[in-house]
Symmetry: C2
Subunit: 531 residues, 2 copies
Amino acid sequence: MHLHGYSLLAGHRGALGGATFRASNPATGETLAPDFHEALPAEADEAVNAAAVAFAQFRIVAPEIRARLLETIAAEIEALGEPLLQRCHEETALPLARLRGERARTCGQLRLFAQVVREGSWVDARIDPALPDRQPLPRPDVRRMLQPLGPVVVFGSSNFPLAFSVAGGDTASALAAGCTVVVKAHRSHPGTAELVGGAINRAIAACGLPAGIFSLIHGGGATIGLALVRHPATTAVGFTGSHAAGRALCAAAAARPHPIPVFAEMSSLNPVFLMPGALRERGPAIAQGLVVSFTLGVGQFCTKPGLVFACRSPETEAFLAALAAAVRAAPCAPMLSAGIHAAFLENRASVSALPGVTELAAASTPAAMPPTLGCPSIAVATAKNFLRTPALATEAFGPFTVVVLADSFDEFSACAHTLAGQLTATVHGDAGELAAAQPLLELLAQKAGRLVLNAYPTGVEVCPAMHHGGPYPATTDARFTSVGTAALLRFARPVCYQGFPAALLPPALRDENPLGLWRLVNGSLSRDALA
Amino acid sequence: MHLHGYSLLAGHRGALGGATFRASNPATGETLAPDFHEALPAEADEAVNAAAVAFAQFRIVAPEIRARLLETIAAEIEALGEPLLQRCHEETALPLARLRGERARTCGQLRLFAQVVREGSWVDARIDPALPDRQPLPRPDVRRMLQPLGPVVVFGSSNFPLAFSVAGGDTASALAAGCTVVVKAHRSHPGTAELVGGAINRAIAACGLPAGIFSLIHGGGATIGLALVRHPATTAVGFTGSHAAGRALCAAAAARPHPIPVFAEMSSLNPVFLMPGALRERGPAIAQGLVVSFTLGVGQFCTKPGLVFACRSPETEAFLAALAAAVRAAPCAPMLSAGIHAAFLENRASVSALPGVTELAAASTPAAMPPTLGCPSIAVATAKNFLRTPALATEAFGPFTVVVLADSFDEFSACAHTLAGQLTATVHGDAGELAAAQPLLELLAQKAGRLVLNAYPTGVEVCPAMHHGGPYPATTDARFTSVGTAALLRFARPVCYQGFPAALLPPALRDENPLGLWRLVNGSLSRDALA
């Protein structure tokens, strides 16, 4: 499968050429051909300008065409076959089986958004017909529906090179909403990005849509990314990555002459709370489940449990022993990049060096060490220590977690009170404990976007009810999700039509309801035509 | 009606006392007793802390209780009777008839939110039941619904001393969402604020709810306002006012350690586009309607039309003559405050001094001039001038508008292209013109939150389909409205429950659907219980 190494600007190669870079195989440290060309600022500019021009057309394309585009992208990605998975494997060291699953998730997500767009009720159409005889003043005819924002800049993330990268959740939801997209490719998988970008371009062409709907920009450092965020025609940003980068993008977006929203999904410790009854009932299974969860994808999931709170009980020692055994048996594996590996070692070391933190267990390191090998380990601290050491709540992105032992339920709850915003919070308890823990659950509902009972936070279902978001610093906008069908609500805004004759209204708002949408008519949901 | 002049902190008077100030009657320049005491930072702190404590209780109060609170507030405001209107009239110089209408709107809006809360489907409940047999992995039970954000800081606005002040749209929608509220009273109507704040306190007590749900803070300058926005427990901000103040609040919110959303409704020129056929059909009526619209409330409406674009036609001269006559006959009236009056004169003078701008007509100024008298006037410029003079698109908040004359439809459209974000955009045309103007309408849909055909932008209906918002600088978040029932969506975020037993789920998400909500079950809307 040939790779050319250039950005894709509205369907053509951007060949101005800046500095070049290569991907490297995290499992071997070898660089991978070909050279990739960093885009120049003029190319970033061209991409967003093209997205702005294409938007004028794409925003009013019939939902059926948008749905078909999403489905065609999925088909084109599948048509890339094994070579896509192979290149992605070389660039990320993620196992082929995982990547196969991730491709299925990526294509499934595109098709799910197609269904949502085709069904159409997501536009939240609302109609309040005129009341010409109302006293003291007549009511005009007022109708509104959601419409797309405009060009969206998406930053591909490293840890989901398919599902949260070029054709991932942000791109799929932006296109579904009717926005055009400029993706800043992640530097660690540029070949994967080029292949998927090509698939999107072919799908756009096959659907007869303007090429400017999509561009893919390679670039290094923050320069090109910030240029995309600051471009006057950019209307929103989707990002998954580090807290520092997310916050920098937000600051740049807020400082624009015309500020725009940034949906950054950044960092989360995904605390897990273990109650004595749960440990009594199934301590060893929980130990096993936790280790699977925190080592999944070499700990490089945004929902990795990074803090585990346990109420001490007679079963605690046995649980810790089971946990230690499971950690020792857990496999080491290459992390996504040398940078992520270095940050992991650094963050783990700084947490481990905090007063009162001791290592409970670590996986044994193989003799031949690939340069980016991530080896699972687990540390313990007391709740008293946790409460006086805020730095213990530092995310180490990788296969590491800290077990915090509380001497009482009050300490356990006090720990929960200190937590910042999280994507998820998980509680394990027996039926009686959970019923009694309602105040803890209510507290966690204020801290996290998703509460999980008697299970593990990793594994984010793509479905209408999913919420993958949470109060800062988990994300920059707790009101929106980046996973699940509600993700497209990030990229739309209401437009209201007052006094419009039928022929000038968008189809979604016409009396006869030609699209068969659920609409709020006079405040009541209905799929009927207006009488 | 006795006024004490102190802030209201969770039901009691904040009597630490800072500097004092008095309201003044804009119609006479006289100051009005009593002294009002600016809150000290410790009092602002106390208010938000109390709001945070009360939130833990209020967020889980049954919808019926929240609905009753909103209705009781409306009843308590009505129970204040004529003295409220009288004080408000003295503080704002707005006519009693207008204030009577505004009180009706304020109470109607509270009752409308009560209906929405009682019906309950606004929480956008979504349920994806477990699929234990799904391959390759089972699906867990995932459910989500909207829940309130937390304490909300509301800045009362000067131009709607009832409907967008202490118990106005922001407060009503925040309480409806289940948030607690701290209002920063507007300095120009502190007595009105105290009276309405007292009504809210009585309603809270009557409903047996914690007093911390609501506080009212008097304060001067930006200090106390910024302290409220920066308070760690504040989770969102509602604001209606000037662009400079709105942008400053946004910057402060974005620079917090934990950034929060600011819903600022700031400035809009509300352009009106007049096509030749419309002028031919009803030029004099449009002239009359425009003058009524831009002088309504002495031009102090956020939806005041501040720019009128007309395509030159044989009827243009007659239209301008009718406009001039209507302006000359329009009444002068006191503006809301000396500050608003001074800013109006300054902005009008700077627009009028731009090259190519000439005065078309002005209302005649009465002999005895109250100090803040606003007199309607209208200026004209050519589209060519408009296109090379960006400063012509400057809002002068008051009874002033600029007519821009285009020599061709292309010029007319070019003017539309240059416009920044707007709350509204209005087009007058005959049936054929409107049908042919679809590209202009599509362009305006990208510039404005509400499009109005053959009518006037002032008069914002409070209803489910209303959208009072628009791209920056009209507001800081085009995705949300500050008028209409959708306004409560600003103050809520989704929370997702995974693997919860029925007894631990919020009622909205239980299988049996005890609240009878519309819910998205497996992606389809339904009011049924789960089988």
